[in-house]
Symmetry: C2
């Protein structure tokens, strides 16, 4: 296997026992945390090669090029690894301004308030019009 196929920076990552690393997607301009997902080695390598976020879908057991169905791709602006080398922060430009499959800007729209999780952020687009398939 050539060095270019397995660059050293991929080996610097502390992959977990499933070969995954958590990835936090943050809006590079506003600082808003938009979503949380996982990457495996191939996903991270593809993310860097394409300049767009590619995750590993644990539920579907396959690579997931974010926006492949919705068009809501994420352009990589900055990629960070934490002190323990086991978490990624990916600063992005969110195409369409919507990261969540519910049609909201961010997935973190439930706020603990008065002992309940309340949905405090607006749906910007009907999910049925986002996913055409």
């Amino acid at each position: 296997m050539s060095n270019s196929a397995r660059p050293a920076w991929l080996d610097d990552v502390a992959w977990n026992e499933q070969g995954l690393i958590p990835a936090i997607a943050q809006d590079a301009a506003t600082g808003e945390v938009l979503m949380f997902a996982w990457m495996n080695r191939d996903a991270l390598q593809l993310t860097v090669a394409r300049g767009e976020a590619v995750y590993w879908s644990r539920s579907r057991g396959k690579l997931w090029h974010k926006g492949e169905e919705s068009g809501h791709t994420q352009k990589v602006i900055d990629l960070r690894l934490d002190c323990d080398r086991d978490t990624l922060l990916i600063k992005i430009e969110q195409t369409g301004g919507i990261a969540c499959h519910t049609g909201r800007r961010s997935c973190f729209y439930r706020q603990l308030n008065g002992g309940q999780w309340r949905e405090v952020d607006a749906v910007l687009k009907d999910p049925q019009t986002i996913y055409r398939g």
Copy 2:
């Protein structure tokens, strides 16, 4: 077990197979992502009761009141749960302005740049003076 000891909002969380949930700590004022850790049920309940972040240390196998040794506690400003109910975003005020055990503001100080992870953020305080033993 009384309802007050096990409030319903704790049951709304989709705990993983280890009974944990990932938690992203973000500076409530600046939006900077400071660290990433895990909580179990007790940690989340204590976090809300105290108004300060309490995590579950997977490496030490015990509750970890952030700042218990360093003094760098995290005051909870806002607590969010995501669309899948399996990730927390905790917006905080970071006491001392330092979240990372390396003495940096944020744990995400390594940037992928030219095929290498480079340490791009400054150490604000010598870790040896943070942890007094």
